[in-house]
Amino acid sequence: MAKDMDKRTAIARQAALELKDGDYVNLGIGVPTLVSNYLPPDVIITLHTENGMLGYGPYPFEGEEDPDLINAGKETITELPGCCYFGSHDSFAIVRGGHLDATILGAMEVSETGDIANWMIPGKKVKGMGGAMDMVAGAKKVIVAMEHATKDGKPKILKKCSLPLTGKGVVSVIVTELAVFDVASGGLVLRKKAESVSMDDLKRLTEPAFAVSERLAAFAAA
C-alpha cells in the first residue's frame, strides 16, 4: 500500500512538471487529481472541471461543504477568486474547442502512436466514458499519468491497444513512476528516466521500442 502511494506521488510529481505557469488544465480522477499538490511555486494554473467551472480550489473545511459546488468526480470543492461557472454545453465548447492548454488523465493502455484506452473492459461492468473522449480530442496537450506496468508486471505502454479506445492518436506525453515519454510522429521518445530503473528494465516493461532523447534527464523516483 505504502509502495503504491509512493508510485502515485512520483507520477503526480513528474506530471506537475509538464505544466506551465498560466495554463488552463483539466485533471482527471485518481492520480491526476494529486498533481495540483506538486506544482512548483512559480507555476499558477487554473483548473477546469467539466461539470461547469473554471478556477476551483481545494476541498472545503469541514462544515463548509456546499452540495451545489462539486467537481466532475462529485467531490465537494471550493471557489478561488476569479472563478466562474457555466453550463455543460459551454464547458465542452472549452474542451472540444481547444481552449484548454492541457489535460492530465489516467489510462489502462496507451500505444506508441498515442492511442489511449481508459473507459471500458469488454465483459466487465461499464461505467461510461464521461468527458474523457472529448477531453482527449480537444485539449492542446494530452498528458497520460499512469503506473508503468500492470499489477502483474505487464506493459501498459503497447504497440497497439487491445482495449476499446477512448481516442486515436491523441496522447502527447506519457508520465509514469519510471519514465516520461513524448509521443512523436516516429514513435516514443524517452525524455526522463527514474534513477531507480535500469534502461534494460525499462525496455522490458515497455512493449514498443523507443528512442532516447539527446537531453535525457533523470528524476528521482520515490
Binding site: 472545503p60 463548509e64 462529485k74 453550463g87 455543460s88 461510461g128 468527458g131 472529448d134 480530442a137
Partner: protein, 237 residues
C-alpha cells in the same frame, strides 16, 4: 397571458405518459430535479427513456426510477455509483446508449437550437463512431452526431420567476441550462419562486421563453455523493 406557475410536481406531470422521453438535469446528484423525480416515482410511469448525464444512486436522482423498474433506456455518459443501474445494464434489462459527455451536451444544444446535427472530433476511431458518418474537415477526422430532443425536460434552478426566467447556483447549472431548450414540455422546479422584476435581467441564465411550467419545490435534500474536506490550519493533527 396563460400562467406558467403550477401548484407542484403532480400538476406539472399530469400529462406524463408511459414511454415518454425525459431529459433530466443534474450532474451526479448536484442540481437534480428532486421533487419531479420523486413525483414520477410516486406516479409509477413506466418504459421511460431518460436523457441524463449520470445514473444517480440507488436512493437518489435517476437511480431511484431505475431501481423501481420504471426506466427502459438511458441515454447518458457515466453510470457511476448506481448499483441498480450496473446490475440491470449488465443483465440487459436496461438499454444504455453511451455518449461522450460533450457530445451529449452538444446533441441537446443542437436539438434546442434547431441544428440538424454536427461533426465532432470526439470519439473518432472509437466504438461510439461505429456506423456513423465521418468526414475530413481541414485535415482532421470528424464524426457526425444527431440532435437530441425529448418530450419533457426536468430542470432544477436556484431562483425562477413567474415568467420562467431561471438563475442557477454554482455547479448545479450543468446540464440544466441546455436541457431547458430541447424538450416539448420544459418543467422547472426552483428553490425560490419570485415575482417578475425580482431577478436581475442581466443575470438570467435561462430566458423564460424556454420554460413551460414552473413551481417552487417543497423541499431540497441536496445529498452530497462524495464529501471531501481538508483539515483547518492549526487544528490538532
Amino acid at each position: 397571458m396563460p400562467g406558467k406557475v403550477v401548484a407542484g410536481p403532480e400538476e406539472a406531470l399530469s400529462d406524463l405518459r408511459d414511454g415518454a422521453v425525459i431529459m433530466v438535469g443534474g450532474f451526479g446528484l448536484c442540481g437534480t430535479p428532486e421533487n419531479l423525480l420523486a413525483a414520477v416515482k410516486a406516479k409509477g410511469t413506466k418504459n421511460l427513456t431518460l436523457v441524463s448525464n449520470n445514473g444517480g444512486t440507488d436512493e437518489h436522482g435517476n437511480g431511484q426510477l431505475i431501481k423501481n423498474g420504471q426506466v427502459k433506456k438511458m441515454i447518458m455518459s457515466y453510470g457511476g455509483e448506481c448499483k441498480a443501474f450496473e446490475e440491470m445494464a449488465l443483465a440487459g434489462t436496461l438499454q444504455v446508449e453511451w455518449n461522450p459527455q460533450g457530445t451529449l451536451a452538444e446533441r441537446i444544444r443542437a436539438g434546442g437550437a434547431g441544428i440538424g446535427g454536427f461533426f465532432t472530433p470526439t470519439g473518432y476511431g472509437t466504438l461510439v463512431a461505429e456506423g456513423k458518418e465521418t468526414r475530413v474537415i481541414d485535415g482532421r477526422n470528424y464524426v457526425f452526431e444527431n440532435p437530441l430532443r425529448a418530450d419533457f425536460a426536468f430542470i432544477k434552478a436556484w431562483r425562477g420567476d413567474r415568467a420562467g426566467n431561471l438563475v442557477f447556483r454554482k455547479t448545479s447549472r450543468n446540464f440544466n441550462q441546455v436541457m431547458a431548450t430541447a424538450a416539448q414540455v420544459v418543467v422547472a422546479e426552483v428553490e425560490k419562486l419570485v415575482e417578475p422584476g425580482e431577478l436581475d435581467p442581466d443575470s438570467v441564465h435561462t430566458p423564460g421563453i424556454f420554460v413551460d411550467r414552473i413551481f417552487q419545490g417543497a423541499q431540497y435534500a441536496k445529498p452530497i455523493e462524495k464529501r471531501t474536506v481538508r483539515p483547518r490550519a492549526g487544528a490538532a493533527a
